[in-house]
C-alpha cells in the first residue's frame, strides 16, 4: 500500500483511477476513425453520408463502452463522487471540447459558403481548405483540445495524442505532395492515429482488468 502524502495527491490518484481503464481512448480512436475512412467512402456514399454514417457507429461504441463500464469496470473499481472543484474541471473540459467542435464546424461551414459563392473553385476547394485554411488550424485545434483536457484531467497521455493530432494534417499534406497519397494522406495518418488510440486503449483496458481482479466481498456487495 502506498499512502498519499497529500490530500491533493489522494484526490488525483482517485480521479486518475477512474480514467485508467483506457476506454475513453478507444472512444476517441473511434471518433478519429472518421477522418481516416470518410474520404475513402466519399465516392460510394457521397460527401454527406460518408461522414453521417459514423454517427450511429459512435453511438454504438459509446453505448458499448457505457455498458462495459457499468458491468465490468464499476464492480472492480467501485464508485466515487468527486467534489465541486473536480466537477468544475470536468465541466471545463466538456466546454472546451464543445467549443473546439463548434470551431471545426464553423471552419467547415465557411468553406462550404465559399464553395457555394464560387469564391473557391470546386476543384481547388479541398486543397485550398487543407493547405491554406485547414492544416494548421485543424492541427492546432486538435492539439489545444487534447492539451487542455490533459491539464484539466491530469492525464499526461492526452498530450501525446494532442501532438499526434497536430502533426496529422501536416504530415498528410506532406505525403500527398511528395508521394502523391490520395485524399491528402488522411486515410494513412488518421488511420495510424486511430489504430494507435484504439490499440493502446484496448491494451490498457486488458492490463487494467488483469491488475484489478474482482474483489471477494461479503454479501455480494457492489
Amino acid at each position: 500500500m502506498q499512502t498519499p502524502i497529500s490530500i491533493r495527491a489522494a484526490e488525483q490518484k482517485a480521479f486518475r483511477a477512474t480514467l485508467a481503464d483506457g476506454l475513453w481512448e478507444v472512444l476517441a480512436g473511434c471518433v478519429m476513425l472518421e477522418f481516416a475512412l470518410a474520404p475513402l467512402l466519399t465516392k460510394s456514399l457521397g460527401d454527406f453520408w460518408s461522414s453521417a454514417i459514423f454517427l450511429p457507429f459512435w453511438a454504438v461504441v459509446y453505448l458499448a463502452i457505457r455498458w462495459v463500464r457499468r458491468k465490468v469496470v464499476s464492480p472492480r473499481l467501485g464508485q466515487v463522487t468527486f467534489g465541486p472543484a473536480r466537477r468544475k474541471r470536468v465541466r471545463q473540459v466538456i466546454l472546451v471540447v464543445v467549443l473546439i467542435t463548434a470551431a471545426s464546424l464553423l471552419m467547415g461551414m465557411l468553406v462550404m459558403i465559399l464553395f457555394s459563392r464560387g469564391t473557391i473553385p470546386p476543384q481547388d476547394g479541398p486543397r485550398l481548405f487543407l493547405q491554406s485554411m485547414g492544416s494548421w488550424p485543424l492541427g492546432i485545434l486538435g492539439l489545444s483540445a487534447f492539451c487542455i483536457a490533459g491539464v484539466l484531467l491530469d492525464y499526461p497521455r492526452a498530450y501525446f495524442y494532442g501532438i499526434l493530432l497536430f502533426m496529422a494534417p501536416l504530415t498528410g499534406e506532406w505525403l500527398a505532395e511528395h508521394l502523391g497519397t490520395a485524399h491528402h494522406g488522411f486515410p494513412i495518418v488518421f488511420g495510424v492515429i486511430s489504430s494507435l488510440m484504439i490499440g493502446l486503449g484496448l491494451v490498457t483496458f486488458f492490463r487494467w482488468l488483469k491488475a484489478n481482479p474482482p474483489l471477494d466481498l461479503p454479501g455480494g456487495e457492489d
Binding site: 500500500m1 502506498q2 499512502t3 498519499p4 490530500i7 491533493r8 489522494a10 484526490e11 490518484k13 482517485a14 483511477a17 464492480p75 472492480r76 473499481l77 467501485g78 464508485q79 466515487v80 463522487t81 468527486f82 467534489g83 484489478n212 474483489l215 471477494d216 466481498l217 461479503p218 454479501g219 455480494g220 456487495e221 457492489d222
Partner: protein
C-alpha cells in the same frame, strides 16, 4: 550514557519546555492519527463520497480491516455510512461528515504546527 541528574538539560522535570500539556502533539486526534484511519480519511476528505470497493482499491486494505476502522470513524461521527441498493446488489456509500471534516482540518493544522516546530 549521560546522567540526567548531573546534566540539567537532560532532566525533563527541571525543563520548563518539557511540559507537554500545551504542546501541539497533545492536540492531535488519536482517532485520526492512526496511519490506516489517516489514509482512509485523506481519501474521504478528498472526494465527496465513495463506496467500499473504491476505498479498498485506493487504500489497499482488506474488507475486514476497512470495516474495523470505518466502524470506529462512524462511531466518532466522522463519517456517515449509507446502505442502499445498486440494482439488485447492496452498496455501502461512505461520506465524511461535517464534524469529520472539521476534525480533519484541526488535525492537519496541529500536525503542520508540530512539523513546523521541528528543527532543520
Amino acid at each position: 550514557m549521560p546522567n540526567p541528574k548531573s546534566n540539567p538539560d537532560l532532566n525533563l522535570k527541571t525543563r520548563p519546555e518539557a511540559n507537554l500539556e500545551n504542546h501541539p502533539l497533545t492536540s492531535l486526534d488519536p482517532l485520526i492519527h492512526a496511519p490506516a484511519r489517516l489514509t482512509i480519511l485523506t481519501y474521504l476528505y478528498a472526494v465527496e463520497s465513495s463506496d467500499y470497493v473504491f476505498l479498498m482499491r485506493m487504500t489497499g486494505f482488506t474488507w475486514g480491516n476497512l470495516a474495523t476502522h470505518l466502524g470506529k470513524l462512524e462511531e466518532a461521527g466522522y463519517i456517515t455510512v449509507e446502505k442502499r441498493f445498486n440494482g439488485k446488489k447492496p452498496q455501502t456509500l461512505l461520506r465524511m461528515s461535517e464534524a469529520g471534516r472539521n476534525a480533519f482540518r484541526a488535525y492537519k493544522k496541529a500536525m503542520q504546527q508540530v512539523l513546523d516546530d521541528l528543527p532543520d
